[in-house]
Amino acid sequence: MHDTIEARGAGARSPAPASARRRNSRILRALAPLPWIGPAIILIVAVVLWPVVEMVWTSLMRISSSGATLGFRGTGNYHDLFGETDLVSVLLRTVVWVVGVVVVTIVVSLAIGQLLNANFPGRRVVRWAVIVPWAASVLMTALTWKWMLNYYYGVVNKVLKGVGLIDHSVNWLSNPTQALIWMMWVAVFVSLPFTSFVILAGLQTVPQEVYEAARVDGAGRARTYFRITLPLLRPALLVAAIINVINVFNSFPIIYAMTGGGPGSKTDTSTTFMYKLAFSGTGDVGESAAMAVVNFALILILVLLYLRAVGWRGEAQP
């Protein structure tokens, strides 16, 4: 930035022939970053931004149930979408889903991060175990939980009956509230590894001297943790929080595999609801695109909040 301004300033005062040469070199200099960042820009624009445009455009089209495009429809799809009786409850459930899963994930991960950072025999094995749900496909993890929660053949009922927590089997995934709680648990379960490791990494960057100093000052453990460790973890927590919010908001396989959002739309979030609008039910791709645009607007709001949180000021360092 600085350089370019200087160059322009100098160029303005130069005689004509030199100025032409300088203009050339200025253009060259302005283009210099392109070989470095050009491919990234091309890939992002072509594969990430294009679908955004395409999606908005589709939300304005009339698409038949067999999938053929029948022409321009204006805001009709949005009108249909806001006429859906389930929409409000789906959006509220999405908020519960995102906030619930992310908060629980971070709180539990803080504990697991501490555990993984502590010294005890077999720590490495525990770290490996915690990694497993991260490496496993979310869909497959959701399927095994669905199987374990099965009313007829599931082991969850067997275990809970065995330890005396319930008297007779419970059809966990049929009651929308219970199903939602279990699915939120699965979402937490698959988010824990990444979050715990981000926090673990954060913990390891805290210099030992800081703790020494706190000890010399006579600070208690709780005090040390809340006054020193947590504030130092802030960057790690911010990263973990935003990545989790985005992942959890867009989480599709868990709900799709475990309840399909049913009965009706009683366990849908806006993401599964969007998919179902297009590919089941009346199969309206246009209305689904409208839902996608609404979802997208919600994400943009989250992004703006995040930008505020990290204090983006154009040139600021990340």
Partner: protein
Amino acid sequence: MSSLSNRRPATVGRGVPGSAGRGRIVLLTAVGYLVAFVFVAPYLEMLLTALKPDRELTASPTTFLPKHWSFGNFVDVWKAAPIWTNMQVSLIVAAVSTLIALLVALPAAYYTARNRFWLRGPFLLLVLITQMFAPTALVIGIYREMVYLNLTDTLLALILVNAAFNLPFCVWILHGYFSSIPKALEEAAYIDGAGRFTALTRVTLPLSLPGLVTAVVYTFIGAWNEYVVALTITSSPNRQPLTVAVPGFVTSYQQHWQYLFATSLIAIVPVVILFIVIERYLIGGLTAGSVK
């Protein structure tokens, strides 16, 4: 390891050196193994189910262990469905998209970390914002774009989507690492007679190894687990990744949970091993980074 931990006492966060009594160690170990069990248990159940014969799957009350251990399920499953093809698809898509994301992200991240130029702000903002976009949210748009480009039902479409959507995260994290490495270190090597490229590969890249590892892991796992886009834009069985193929074992007319879970395990185990191998470098690299 033990000598190392002697020198650097337990970093238990609130860990006040010297206070780690024997009881505390026992407690930590117990809690540690309990946590480990909770994380592994669903996959253990996966394994036990994969080893049950057909008739035991729907038996109620269910049993924890198979009565007849059907190890043959792991052989039969290869014949029951073309899972070898699906596995190749998953691997190709995950590996190539990771490679592309990295090759594209590295120069961009390095250049933005080392230079200030007019496009820097807009570019970083673009990266920061698109980092928040997930294929799931845009699946309808992706689908329509691929229709337009005539790329539906191709591996290239899956590769491009996975590479592009993970690219911003890679750029971001690598940019962060490159920025944290003092330019002086590179310049020192440069003055020592190394070329700038050598300085880059000998000094900067090794120091940013944790970032590299994180970027690779993040992209690979993202692509390996990707479900919605593959579900929507692939239709031929030989171009579907495992995530799309696996649920096909349980349908209205047949329910082969044992095959579903056998395939899932076949898919999960190699990645878990990969992760365990990388974990050493990940944690080791992070520790090294924090000490220096």
